[in-house]
């Protein structure tokens, strides 16, 4: 009993550390995919965003997400984990105001830490999409709003015992809760900001703006892949040997399939195996399997990863056609990947894998019910997050401004926003794209 608590706590904390480490992964992928002259700005954003998220989620986010309340938001123990709670007591033995997480027998602090690193992830996703043109202060402001209010409230719907949970919507580790949420918030930002100077030429020409450091991007991608073995299997929030072993494998297999298929599609489509697509493909596979990792078979995880990998390639190209300038592909990876992954639960789920949860999906004779619930969740979360984020971005725009001046953008945000340069000892050149 007691030892089980210890085991569960160890697992949850270690998994949480792996998810924390994903902050570095995002920082490296996003800065590697951007230009050298904006590196300090991007890594600063990714570095402070976790700090901001820590405060925001501690002060009010946690309470809104997991505090007992109604189907739409938490209302008790709102501030600074101030509510009653006798964790690690579970089930009926639990007495406190954070009952949504009373099923896991770990101390409150372990629950908070694990949920915090997830909340921060949503904010890092935004960082990449708005990179190379956003004001530092404005990004900080939006990140606070996202982690303090937007993320926790939709999170409450699904993981806080809210209306979507009751509806039978399943998102095991957050394809929708974390990834789509981040992507929808990012999309609103991208629309408010507009594309980077020079990204879209006359008569619809899409110009390449090559990232400055593929070594960084690859390093970040591997770190994210590693972090995902905390992100997905950790979401059991209990050291259940069978479940976590299964999830570790489905997660890694989906990433592998995503990387391979994206590489192959890019090779066929563009004539060469573009490393940017390989990386985005692996991440797409990871996002895609996140909702279903505990509910689908290893075979299905390969299929889900493969589809996600292909989807990401077309997604990146499509977004450019739509003139939605996302320097790192976050909208495709986390947005499209997250939506697909959430729906995939409705298709590939099998009752035998996690009995008494999702039941069978469409492809396994479970009918369209599950798929329907998944679709509702996708739409509800998308609509809510996008609308509120758009409002937040516009508010920021009119109050503090959202985009740096054209001169600053041309010279680079590192000097303009930070007075720093990332690589002062190296002679640099403007890539003529």
């Amino acid at each position: 009993m007691d030892l089980q608590i210890t085991l569960d706590t160890l697992w949850v904390l270690i998994a949480g550390m792996l998810v924390f480490f994903m902050n570095l992964g995002f920082a490296l992928v996003e800065s590697g995919f951007a230009r050298a002259k904006n590196t300090v700005n991007i890594i600063s954003k990714n570095f402070v965003v976790f700090a901001i998220a820590s405060i925001a989620f501690f002060v009010v986010g946690w309470g809104l997400m997991y505090g007992d309340g109604n189907g739409f938001l938490g209302l008790s123990g709102l501030f600074m984990l101030g509510g009653a709670d006798n964790s690690p007591a579970v089930g009926d033995a639990y007495q406190g105001v954070y009952s949504a997480l009373s099923w896991t027998g770990v101390p409150l602090m372990a629950k908070f830490f694990f949920q915090l690193v997830f909340a921060a992830t949503a904010a890092t996703i935004v960082s990449g999409a708005v990179a190379e043109r956003i004001k530092y202060a404005s990004f900080i402001a939006f990140s606070f709003v996202l982690v303090a209010f937007i993320y926790p409230i939709v999170g409450h719907w699904i993981w806080g015992g809210g209306w979507l949970a009751l509806l039978g919507f399943w998102d095991f580790a957050g394809s929708t809760v974390v990834h789509s949420t981040g992507a929808w918030a990012a999309l609103a930002g991208v629309l408010v900001l507009g594309p980077r100077i020079g990204k879209y030429g006359k008569n619809g020409k899409v110009n390449a703006i090559p990232g400055h450091n593929m070594t960084s991007a690859m390093t970040g991608a591997f770190i994210l892949w590693l972090g995902w073995s905390g992100f997905n299997p950790g979401s059991t929030m209990a050291a259940d040997p069978g479940a976590i072993s299964h999830i570790v494998v489905t997660t890694s297999m989906a990433a592998a399939a995503g990387a391979l298929v994206a590489t192959a599609v890019a090779w066929k489509l563009l004539g060469k195996p573009d490393i940017g697509m390989t990386i985005n493909g692996a991440l797409g596979g990871l996002v895609g399997i996140t909702a279903g990792c505990a509910f689908v078979s290893v075979g299905s995880s390969l299929v889900i990863g493969a589809i996600a990998g292909a989807l990401i390639v077309f997604g990146v190209l499509l977004l450019d056609k739509l003139k939605l300038d996302d320097p790192v592909g976050a909208l495709a990876v986390h947005g499209m990947g997250g939506i697909f992954g959430t729906l995939a639960v409705g298709l590939f789920a099998q009752d035998v894998i996690a009995p008494g949860t999702t039941g069978d999906g469409l492809f396994f004779g479970g009918g369209a019910g599950l798929l329907g619930a998944q679709a509702i969740g996708v739409l509800a979360v998308g609509a809510a997050v996008f609308a509120v984020s758009l409002a937040a971005w516009l508010l920021i725009k009119v109050t503090m401004g959202v985009r740096v001046s054209a001169e600053e953008e041309l010279e680079g945000l590192d000097i303009g926003e930070h007075g720093n340069r990332a690589y002062p000892d190296f002679v640099q050149t403007e890539t003529v794209a």
């Binding site: 041309l410 000097i415 007075g419 720093n420 002679v427 640099q428 050149t429 403007e430 003529v432």
Partner: protein, 112 residues
């Protein structure tokens, strides 16, 4: 022949290149330089210590052309590189006594 050296703002390279194409320039050589002049640099900080960087990143291009083409080239560059802001740069002209194309050994204007 004449050698024309121009110091321009880096992001003007494309426009200048196209303008030179238009007047029939077949080749040129370019490289990154740092410029000091009326256009002032900026202040940076590093872990608390402030310092001014007087030098501004510029691009230098060199074109060797036939004497009669030289003025056209000059004007093409001036037009394409001008933004009207301080730091647009300079165009310098020099005399070039000889040119050889390494591949063929052609000499003089034919080498260009």
């Amino acid at each position: 022949m004449k050698k024309i050296e121009a110091i321009i703002k880096p992001h003007k390279l494309d426009e200048v290149k196209e303008a030179l194409h238009a007047v029939g320039v077949a080749g040129l050589t370019a490289y990154e330089v740092k410029g000091f002049g009326r256009q002032k640099g900026h202040t940076e900080i590093y872990r608390g210590a402030e310092y001014t960087v007087d030098f501004v990143p510029k691009l230098k291009i060199e074109i060797v052309v036939d004497d009669d083409l030289a003025p056209k080239v000059e004007d093409a560059i001036i037009e394409a590189a001008r933004s009207g802001k301080i730091g647009d740069g300079k165009v310098f002209t020099y005399d070039c006594e000889g040119a050889v194309r390494i591949r063929t050994g052609e000499r003089g204007p034919d080498a260009l």
